[in-house]
Amino acid sequence: MIQVRIMSLFSRRSPSASPVSAMTDAALVAAARGGRKEAFVEIVARFQPLVCAVAYQRTGSLQSGEDVAQETFVTAWRKIGELREPEKLRAWLVRIAGALAVDHLRRDKASRREPLTDEADFAAAGMLPDEAAAAHDEEALVWSTLESLPESYRLPLILHYREGQSAAQVAEALELSEDAVKQRLSRGRDMLREKLSGLVEGVLRRRVPSTVFVLTVAAAIGALTAPAVVAAGAFTAGATAAAASSTTAPVLTAMKASKATLAAAAAIAVVSVPAGYAVRGWQEPPAVLVNAGVAPAKPAPKKPDFSESALYAEWRRLHEEHQPVPQAMPALYAAIAGLNDPFRRRAFRSALIAEWAETDPQAAWKFFTGPGGSVERSYQLMHEWLTLDAQAAVTALLSVTGREASYPEFFKDISRHAPERLPEVLAKSPKSQAWDTRAEDAFALMAEKDLGFARATAEGIAGPWRERALNGVMREWAEKDGPAAMAWAQSQPEGAARDEWIRQTLTGWAKQDPIAALDRVDQVPPGGNENSSSDTASRVLGIAAERDFDATLRWLQEHPGKVGSQSLTALGNVVASHFLADPAGFAEFLRSNDTGGVLKSAVQSALLNDAYSCKAPLWEWVNRQPASDPTAKDIREHLLRSAAWYEPEQALKWMAELPDSPEFAPLTLSIAESLQNKGTDISHQTEMLAAMPAHLRTALLRSGFALMRPETARDIPHALTQYNALPVGERSLVAGGLASQWAHDDPEAAIAWAATLSADERLKATEGVVGSWATYDSMAASQWITELPPGAERDAAAKVLSMSISEAEPESAWRWSVSIQDPAVRAETLPWAYAQWHRRDPAAAAQAFEEANPTPAEREAALKFIKP
């Protein structure tokens, strides 16, 4: 093995030390701690396959996996002194690799590196564009295939194929029996074969970690100086070749025989390196800039240097003034609080809290949680402390009573640094609202690192937090292995907890396989709360559509009854993204694709929210379409409605552009009503009216009167002016609205006004007056109606009174309904009054009903109200 030969190189450099290759893991750790870098290089060599496999598994990228693996060893070297149980070196390295992989993914996401887009880029990367694309696709395909396998099969496959380990080695690495490994490899192969095992196996074999891996790490930890790295690499490469060919054996023998020759050969090799380097360089295109961030062999970071920093100088000065001892911290804190510059004050305060957490966290905790302390600072302190000494921090957190409400703030950090103590913290945490998912998130994080541990921890919790903890685990588990998570959730005892675990599973699964998750949305009750996007289908749809909008849309069209209208609104967010990316393009997509109406509510929701901001191009697009186009019609209406809500002036402007035709009349009236949302009082309406084209004024006035409220009808004289401005034929439509509001303050005056109106208007105005009056003084209203002469007006008034008081005074309402003389008006009133009384006193109501000699139609309608 190549690594063994490197070890032998080191052992020659340190003749006094025992051969590291024979050492146990614990002994290697001890030697490495003692400064023997070659011992650490042996650790690298020994665990490289495992660490690379774990890193690959977590990052899903061969190159990233290799980067993470190198970073793992560099970190391990720096922290080798912190390893408490040297015999658990393997587990420790795996943990570091896992954590760094998570960091890497996060950084990778954050940095949003620009992809290679240019031919020259690919060429410089040593690949033709097609090859590069193919390599990328191949890798993505491999990973997506591997991802679909359960974890227990995935890791052995990676170790076996990528790292070239035998079944025995895999067994050793994973601490499994050889039989178990063989079984998993066989089963895993079967699973892969169904799809693309040949490709997967081939790619994994081709992408074995580069031979410079160990050397790179060695260089990073300072085991080799730069030329030596090269020389050692040269030797290694040569030796690897030698091992493969029997003709080189005498050379090695000869070297062993003569130290001088050996030294000379090494020197020659070192000297020859630049020549080889230059020769290779001639074959390359002239590259001027190298993106060091992508190179696998990252140089070890330099120690931070603060010598040129004015801020650091000030920081030091403050420390010198107040003595660099823990006892001086409060005084230092006070001095920093006195700084004028906000950045400096905030920065120093945060740094001081971090320093205090390092030097005397107990005292700091007491300081910040005591009288005059600060919640924000105590939070920072606890976060810092948790990274430094999680056990002590958790103990301190739990020791202060009265701060339980703050615990959720630390769930995630505790999950990271002291996961085993999270149940203890949860047990003392107050019940949280359903929307607060911090406990779930903490367990999801735990499961991301170690699913088995997270599951066991969550399942071990007693009480209500168990359900919440398992919610997080299920979500994460399903992201890794949807079918297994689903099987587990479904095997749990029936109940609300199981239902929610299934929902969490479906949301996690939807991230990987949206269609599989959507297929199962009705296997659990819808759930959800008042929030319209919180039922199962809403949750899954939102994620699925983000993952694969086209597939989700196809699925919805193929399954028209799986998801209801309420859940479909959840697509609003994704639809808004499409509108924002290409407003006219997406509108065109909606127009030219028969989506079966499944996006209707989402389009409405999108245009009422974020997508409203692309109103200009959308309005332009709408105006280019034929008036009868249904998509354009919908978008026009939603835009107008949103504008009426957000920007009435914009709505008025657009309304003015609408043609004056009967086709647009319903829309005009409907938008005029939306415009009243702003709490439009009469004076505001006057402003709007002034801005309206003549043909739209009537619509606005009608809606204004129809939606009048007491607080918007405070200027009756002005309202009367507006009323008289309406065409005569339109007045009866709004007389009731005006009379109703007027009667709220002065029923007698409203009645007097009604008496001056035409018959149609008077009838409507009377209904309005009674409807309003009866809500606050039914006795006075009744008295007035009693005095009316028989006729249409009295019947109309009696009908409205009966309807208004039917719930509060059902018997009285019934009597009024019976008193109506017009058979048609009575038929509209009596059944309802009877049903309301029947609800309260069935026997008395039934007797009275029979005595009233109801017509067959009244009888049928009454029975319908009681029992359809």
Binding site: A125, G276, T387, P526, D535, D715
Partner: protein, 552 residues
């Protein structure tokens, strides 16, 4: 060792060394992509790229150091990096924060100090791209920028109107915040800015305005007479009116008489209450002299409440003589509230003594409102809710109790379905209003619709029909196929027929294509029933025709 062997070894070493050099270069070339090459992009681009590369390298170096340090050293690393950073470097630095609130705040403070406009534009660009606003960063930016250069901030927020990707309500929220800050130093300018931006949903914090006037009460009248009526919203006028009334209520109300109706109402509501406390006789006379019955009624409420604290009988009697319309009926509210403020037992006795009818109902409503006034539906206090319900259940008039509870159902139970369920199965379910039963039915339908359908017999008979409809419609709105299948599989009978018609009516309101396909999927034997339901449903005629066609 033979000479030839040594030569061989040396040659081998030379070859191996050269090979190593070649491999090393190859390895770098293969793994490190080149950003650009001179023949493609030219020297200028190379130079820019070089600077970018250097910056990137520095940032990566920093990132590496950041991840390898901790505690104070890590903070110092960040602080010194922030000290040297340019505004353009800040996003990358912030990436290091990885959600750490303290780091985010520190770095964003620095960014806002370096170039608030750059920060503003960057955050907006990121928001447009990611469709998410970072609230902490915006909060820091707005706070810091407001301190340094409010005009520039106002200009930036004004420029943002109508920008694609910027949510209208979000923008108004930021503007509301700025106006709130401005209100602390220059309330008059803040009011003008509020009007210029047309803020009407995210109302700014007006407490500084109250304080500004309280510090110098003379400002109230000056502000009232100088402020443009179109600028002042009702809340602002209420504050000014209240403040002015503390020094000269008569003048304040006289001034209000000349305002347009909407402003007059807002301005005078609180003023009259203070005047009544200072000089009941004068306040009463002022109200009685008003010709507009609506305005008189509006002023009477606060007056009666102030008066009833000392003499409820006289206050009530005055209201019956001097006030008209709803205000007269509702004056009982003010009386009951005033008595309740003194003694809840006394108020309860007063309510129980009233004759059944609207006056009693208004009084019960008013008392329950008093009891749950401070109940926060988003942080429900079970003890407060239990106390209110216990009081309500002591009333002899159960119907009045039920109707009063109906008005507070949303507040008391909307965000606490468990409490609603417990109440409905408890001893006081007899005062549960219909709305609460339907809410419970809807909740049950979400949690387990099949089981909700089975447990409907527990619902009082008068609510059965609507509760069934609620469960089925809730289920249909989320899982139409599952709901339909459940109903289709019910044994034949009246229950199945009713439920089937309900789902058919529900399908009728689905989008056209969806509805058609669902109707087509119904069992052939059930189609006549579906046709019957669609015939009797309230639908536009064309839609009805299309649906019936699908059922053919």
């Amino acid at each position: 060792m033979k000479r030839s062997a040594r030569i061989l070894i040396c040659l081998g070493a030379m070859t191996v060394g050269a090979l190593a050099g070649w491999l090393l270069r190859s390895s770098r070339a293969a793994t490190a992509p080149v950003i650009s090459s001179p023949d493609k992009t030219g020297a200028a681009a190379a130079s820019t790229a070089a600077r970018r590369s250097q910056a990137q390298s520095a940032a990566e170096e920093l990132a590496a150091q950041f991840h390898l340090t901790k505690g104070a050293e890590r903070w110092l690393l960040l602080i010194t990096a922030a000290e040297k950073a340019r505004a353009a470097d800040m996003p990358r630095l912030l990436d290091l924060a990885d959600g750490n609130e303290a780091i985010v705040r520190m770095l964003s403070t620095r960014w806002a100090e370096l170039s608030p406009r750059h920060m503003f534009d960057s955050l907006l660009a990121r928001m447009v791209e990611d469709r998410r606003g970072d609230s902490t960063l915006f909060e820091v930016l707005l706070t810091e920028w407001m301190k340094r250069d409010p005009s520039a901030l106002i200009a930036a927020l004004s420029d943002t109107s109508g920008r694609p990707g910027i949510n209208h309500l979000w923008l108004e929220q930021q503007r509301g915040y700025v106006v709130s800050q401005l209100m602390k130093t220059d309330p008059v300018a803040a009011l003008a800015q509020m009007a210029a931006w047309g803020i009407n949903r995210h109302r700014p914090d007006l407490r500084p305005l109250e304080k500004w006037i309280a510090d110098n009460p003379g400002r109230a009248s000056t502000l009232a007479t100088s402020i443009d009526a179109t600028v002042a919203n009702e809340e602002v006028l209420r504050i000014i009116g209240k403040a002015w009334a503390q020094t000269d209520p008569a003048a304040a109300l006289a001034f209000a008489s000349n305002l347009p109706a909407a402003q007059r109402y807002a301005f005078s509501g609180s003023a009259i209450s203070d005047w009544a406390k200072q000089d009941l006789k004068a306040a009463t006379a002022f109200i009685a002299a008003q010709n507009d019955p609506g305005y008189r009624g509006h002023l009477a409420g606060p007056l009666i409440e102030a008066w009833a604290a000392g003499d409820p009988g006289a206050a009530f009697a005055w209201s019956q003589e001097n006030v008209k319309g709803a205000a007269r009926a509702q004056s009982i509210n003010s009386v009951v509230k005033a008595v309740a403020a003194r003694s809840m037992d006394e108020a309860t006795a007063l309510v129980n003594g009233l004759e059944t009818g609207q006056t009693k109902q208004l009084a019960v409503n008013a008392l329950l409102e008093t009891l749950v006034k401070n109940f926060d539906p988003f942080r429900p206090d079970p003890a407060a809710r239990d106390a209110a319900l216990a009081w309500l259940s002591t009333l002899a008039d159960k119907e009045a109790a039920k109707q009063a509870l109906e008005k507070s159902t949303w507040k008391l139970f909307n965000n606490d379905p468990d409490a609603a369920r417990a109440f409905l199965s408890g001893p006081h379910a007899d005062i549960a209003p219909a709305a609460l039963w339907f809410k419970a039915a809807s909740e049950m339908a979400k949690q387990n619709p099949a089981s909700a359908m089975e447990s409907l017999p527990g619902v009082p008979a008068e609510h059965q029909q609507q509760a069934t409809s609620t469960v089925l419609n809730t289920w249909m709105s989320m899982q139409p196929d599952a709901a339909t299948a459940w109903v289709v599989n019910l044994p034949a009978g009246e229950r199945r027929t009713t439920a089937f018609k309900e789902i058919a009516r529900s399908i009728a309101w689905f989008p056209d294509a969806q509805a058609a396909r669902m109707l087509e999927a119904l069992p052939a034997a059930d189609r006549p029933l579906a046709r019957e339901a669609i015939h009797s449903a309230t639908l536009p005629p064309e839609r009805r025709a299309r649906l019936l066609e699908a059922l053919r």
